[in-house]
Amino acid sequence: MAETKVKLNHIGNTFAMKNQYLLDRAQGKNIAKHPYLQCLADFESKEKRFLTELKTPRATDPLEEYSQRLEAARKQVAFYEPYVELSYDAELAYKKARVEVEQVPAILETYRQIRQEIEQVRSERKALPPEADQQARALMATELKALEQDIETQKMRINELYKQKRISSKALQNNMVKFKRQIKIAKENAELAVPSKALELKEKNLLYRLKQDPKKMEAFIQAEKNDLQQNIPVEIAQGAPWKSFLSIPIPGLGQILNGQYIKGLLMMLLAFFNYIIAIPYALGYGNYQGKGIGGLVNLAVGGKRLDKSLFFMIEGVIAIFLLIIALFIFWISFKDAYKVEKDKILGKRPNSWKITSKMILEEGFPYTVTLPSAIMIIFIVLVPIMTSLLLSMAGQDPQNQSKFGWVGLENYLALIKGSGLAGALFWRILVWTLIWTLGATTLSILVGFFLAILLNNERVKLKPLFRTIYILPWAIPGFISILLFSIMFSPDSYLTNVLSAITGQTILVKDSTFWTRLILIIMKTWLGSSYIFLLSLGVLQSIPGDLYEAADIDGATSWQKLTKITLPLVLFQTAPLLVGQYTFNFNDFTAIFLFNGGGPFNTSLYGNLAGSSDILISYIFKLTMNNNYQSIGAAIAIIISFGLMAFAYIGFSRSKAFREIK
């Protein structure tokens, strides 16, 4: 860092240097025993003595404390005044003391005054004759009675008006409320007029002010001191920053060397987290079974008999996240200390803790309040996702349950090629999943929209009844209706018999691939159209009628009105939700699994791993929970996730709301 002849403060104003030694050095003169340095050392030793002498036992009475403070401040002003031209440190101390000298008397005075008033009120309360209250009460009671009588007559008048039907029941009600309030207010006022009550309230008020008024004035003093701290530069002999680099091994050390002690100590707490939790865990200490990040290398393969690769994997992922957090702490601590140190060399005085804490509360607010959520998301949402990502590249299958190694992209290749027991089914199931998603969702949308248009016809009566019935499938918990259908399609149950009556032959829905799939799509339409109906009806009702009137005048047919006005408006407003319906159905585990457990089970086509109505998500469930093909399951889950993410990204990055975020 090049040495300069001026110093900057936080606002960017330049100041002449007071330190003659540094000034000479900057000008290229090198004087071995600079007289200025001796003056400074002299000042510093005197200051040290002065400050130890200044220390007095803390007063217990606030009044005494304020006068002590004032006294100390006066002494400081007197002590620092001759040195103001010597150094900026002395100037700061001098000016801070001056602020105290100017402002503390006002606090002292306020405090004393309020206290006096309290004493006065208390003595007044004591001197109050006991009959004064009663007299006041009696007086008030007669006044209250008069008021009540007055209101009573008004009430009668209003009632009379109501009986003659000259005012509405609402007006009657409002008037009654008004009367009640009048009496209440009068009663409260009467209570205040009682001398003892009034004095009691006054005392309470004064006691509150005794606490709050000095606080407010203190805040002013603090604000002025903060200004001084940021306005008066600092001079140090240091040329290039080095202290902040100590924050890299020990967060907080650089801050302490910069003179920011409390901030430094707090940073050190974070250092504790780094050195006691994060780094040891990453190295494998304190793990449940795993070996930290190192455990990810060969995942317990060749390890102890009871070691499980899955644990090694999860703990490895946790260790990685902990390490990332630790590195982040190191980085933040260094960056902060480095900035402060560099500024200090330029002349900007480091902030006091009072300023720093205020900044943390103001500017750091969004970070502090979102921190718990971030931690939750990292450890409860991201860790399982990362584990699945890693698992999809490992070989957990029925033969290698507790110990398995890395296999790279083999699982994905098996899925793409359709090879292996589990991979062979992938494409077949994917095709049905797509048919199911497109069929069930599109049908739901069509039916729901169609019903909404039918019901929006102004000539149709009993709208609320139809509306309530139509939203029932949406309102009833999905798993109940699905299980209900499942039961009703068992042999000899309701819907099986209905179906037989219609087709004229006994059909066992759950034993036939075709019928199971067909009924699933119909059932999903039963369930899903309800929500679409609700959405579209809301949009339809909000379309202004003049659009249609204008169309009528222009001679549009009903079909044209539907396709040119209604459809575009409804689609435009519900599009994101409709897309959501497709992704929801793609992943609708409940419908598939609860209706027929993914069956019927056609072993010649599907083997033992899936049934013919299984969709990808229920296939993942079976692979993971029942058949021990966790890795293949994870690979499918990851493929689905990337698909969904791409889908969401396109829709999301185009949304207006997101582009507006600055």
Binding site: I314, T370, P384, T387, S530, T583, F593, A634, I638, I661
Partner: protein, 301 residues
């Protein structure tokens, strides 16, 4: 008065309406509309009515069969309360739901406020990040949840599977609900909080005194959705919970249909009815608010 006039007019057979009189074709179309509307209503109501009837029909045994004469009684409810763990399931679900609501509100009210009212480094990035993470469904982690629970239990004794479920539900809801709340808060001008700031309120005070009362309606909707979530979810309890007395209501009712030892379909109908009625009533009463909450989150992003 208006009505008497109308009837009079009707009596004189004069057509009085804003709408043009219906042509024959229109009549047919209207009749057709009514036909379709009524048919669909029957289609929706029929299974639900059958469920009601079988829950109260004492002539139904273990498996529901059609064509059984109705003998009204509460046998199946008795079976549900005395022979199964129904009440325990309800209690478990309530515990999980309420805790999820509390945690979600705690997290989301802060994050929504921060993302709506503050500018800070990394805002856009993190918003995009959580949005993408949020699109990954929770089933992706099913292979890890069980093992994760074992690991957490090692460090926090007493951390049971219900707590794991609560964590998964509330952490999973943070992203989406933050968006909903942010969208809602964005639509409210900042004048009120600016005024509070000028009057000397700190961020925390502004949050407590100004923001909280404003977002209460939206928080109520978020609370409602998070409350209902555990009642409706079937996958995660199925993955994590094994013992009958740990189950939530959805996984528990499934055992009344699926598990050969405990199968009793009319009891399922009875148990389903008991939770269906309050939830359906809630949805019907609050339909507008529930849909608007979803819509505002989706449209405003």
């Amino acid at each position: 008065m208006m009505e008497t006039k109308k009837t009079k007019v009707k009596a004189e057979k004069i057509y009085l309406s804003d709408k043009p009189p219906l042509s024959t074709g229109g009549m047919v179309l209207l009749a057709l509309s009514y036909g379709i509307l009524i048919a669909w209503a029957v289609f929706i109501l029929w299974p639900i009515i059958q469920m009601f009837l079988s829950a109260f029909n004492e002539n139904q045994y273990q498996y529901l069969t059609s064509g059984v004469e109705l003998k009204f009684g509460t046998k199946h409810f008795k079976h549900l309360f005395e022979e199964t763990n129904y009440l325990i399931w309800i209690r478990n679900t309530l515990f999980i739901s309420l805790s999820t609501v509390l945690l979600t509100l705690l997290f989301v009210s802060f994050t929504g406020y921060a993302y709506s009212r503050f500018r800070f480094k990394g805002k856009k990035m993190s918003l995009m990040g959580i949005m993408l993470v949020q699109t990954i469904p929770s089933f992706v982690g099913i292979a890890a949840y069980f093992a994760m629970h074992t690991i957490i239990q090692q460090f926090i004794p007493g951390f049971n599977k219900h707590m794991m479920l609560i964590m998964i539900y509330s952490a999973g809801g943070i992203a989406g609900n933050t968006f909903i709340l942010k969208g809602y808060l964005d639509s409210i001008p900042t004048d009120l909080d600016d005024a509070a700031k000028i009057d000397g309120c700190s961020n925390m005070q502004t949050y407590r005194l100004i923001i909280m009362p404003i977002v209460k309606p939206m928080l109520a909707i978020i609370a409602l959705w998070s409350f209902i979530g555990p009642f409706l979810d079937f996958l995660l309890p199925r993955v994590l919970l094994t013992r009958s007395e740990d189950l939530t209501v959805s996984a528990g009712l499934f055992t009344l249909i699926n598990d050969l030892r405990t199968i009793n379909q009319p009891a399922f109908a009875a148990g389903g009815l008991l939770i269906m009625v309050p939830i359906a009533a809630l949805f019907i009463i609050l339909q507008k608010q529930l849909v608007s909450g979803l819509a505002s989150g989706a449209v405003k992003g």
